[in-house]
């Protein structure tokens, strides 16, 4: 992975945020387009979110983010809003997969001290470090396995398979 330092604003959510809370499955009946679905992000639990999210914001959650249904729009709708990184205490495994395959970085770290609106700096290199500008607190995230990073750094499974034709 190329070393990268990213500054962004935290958008804070709690534990066990399921994919239906990220994007209601009934919205899939109308469209699968992330540019449409982004307007309904988190509508069930945070109706003000979709209007206030800005490209480059970072989702910050507690444990088990993306539990429930494996629907992939729960990852692509997030990317549709211009979000490229999700920090969570832990991810549901299907959400982790869908994030990787779409080039959304699922980063596991201790998020307990990160509050809504907190300014963050994330250094992504051989180690992944998350600094909170508010209190200068720094945590180290779990490393991402090499085979998974290859797919993420390619921008997801589509560009990866376009380039390599096989896994």
């Amino acid at each position: 992975m190329t070393s990268l330092s990213i500054k962004a604003t935290a958008r804070r959510f709690g534990d066990d945020i399921n994919t239906d809370y990220i994007i209601s499955s009934r919205r899939k009946r109308e469209s699968l387009d992330p540019a449409v679905l982004k307007d309904y992000l988190f509508e069930t639990i945070a109706p003000e979110f979709a209007a206030s999210v800005r490209a480059g914001d970072i989702l910050v959650a507690g444990k088990n983010f993306g539990c429930g249904s494996a629907m992939e729009v729960a990852a692509t709708a997030v990317i549709g809003a211009g979000i490229r990184i999700v920090l969570a205490q832990s991810f549901a495994r299907t959400y982790f997969r869908n994030a990787v395959n779409n080039g959304l970085y699922p980063i596991e770290c201790d998020t307990s001290r990160i509050a809504e609106g907190c300014a963050l700096q994330i250094d992504m290199g051989p180690r992944i470090l998350v600094h909170s500008a508010l209190d200068g607190h720094e945590v180290e995230a779990a490393p991402i396995p090499h085979d998974i990073l290859k797919i993420l750094d390619a921008g997801g499974l589509v560009p990866y398979l376009r380039a390599h034709s096989t896994l």
Binding site: L32, S69, E72, I151, V158, R162
Partner: protein, 421 residues
Amino acid sequence: MSGKTLSEKLLSLSSGRSVKAGDIAICEVDCAMGTDGSIPMAMDYFAAMGASRVHSPHKLLFALDHYAPAPSPKAAMLQARIRRFAREQGIPLFDIGEGIGHQIVVEQGLAAPGRLLVGADSHAVTYRAANCFATGIGSSDLAGVMMTGKVWLKVPESIRITLHGEMPPGVYPKDLALHLAKLLGADGAAYQTLEFHGEGLDTLDFEDRLVLANLSVEMGAKNAVFPFDAACMRYLDGRVAVPLEGLSADADAIYTRTLDIDLTTLCPYVALPHNVDNVARLDEVGDVPIQMACLGTCTGGRAKDFRQALAVFRQFGRPAAGVQLVVTPASREAMHELALGGELAELIELGAIIVTPGCGACCGTAGAIPEDDANVISTANRNFKGRMGNPSANIFLASPEVCAASAIAGRIASPQTLSRR
């Protein structure tokens, strides 16, 4: 060097190299299931990957189960696209009314010991009742499998669960699953496999194990796996085309945790809104009036489940006035079995709303949607806010027996509290 868990063995077999928990395994897929909920996006990813022909069409299975029958012209057109693609590519397709893809995979004998199955739907974990490896994937993964025949999987760690004794009367696999959800929490088994052992398994038949395997994902587990034994063989014999040879874990395999469950101590449970691990004992639930009782889905939609419910109706009478009884068989095969046995006629006579076999009534994509503030008791697997298509409804999860008793009482109830008809 230590031995292997059942998951480590199965993924070593599928990846062609010796893998251990934590490794990333690139695996050959024996069967990949997609639904009308996940295939349309997979087709888009497939095209974006630059692919035109699928790698192994006979290893794919498409099921039109999420929007069955199509509730809107848009859904109908997506399904038309899927049918056309399946025809062009030679992919077996199970159309509207055939049932839930997971049930079809099992009925068709595609889940068998030693195989690797994936499904682009989280309840693909259900197949692991058959001593295979199986888990849910997304649409991009399905597209990747369509293009390459392969999938990447992180080899899971395992929790060893040993079952002892037998469940008391009135306690069902659903109750055991809810007990485990309470014990482990919604993410207590995250990324891990629940590996079931113990003589208590002898009291659980294959259908019972399908319920446990199905609900393992609600504990955040990657899946749950069962040994190859007489119960497994009885179900698979005659369905699976290849000779059956089971795998088992090594005695010195490493587990993150071991749990012993005494089945004799279990009681009926209910998952309260809006999380599956928000579990209470039935006798602690209190007075909850209900407006809808749902029997069915890929958790509780097999003939055996309906028979458990019907036993209660026969003894204690009809659903109370004001309660909608919604019935969704898991598949046409299950519905046909109920028709042949006369149970379907009994359900109709009870005033049941019979929904097309599929996922609609469970996830709100088609079928019966509850009114605002309605309390629903259901044999399904999820009770998230909005799950059945109305975020103002409250969903309670329980066994078929408790759902039937509650329909009769008009409030959440145990059959023990009802008086005979």
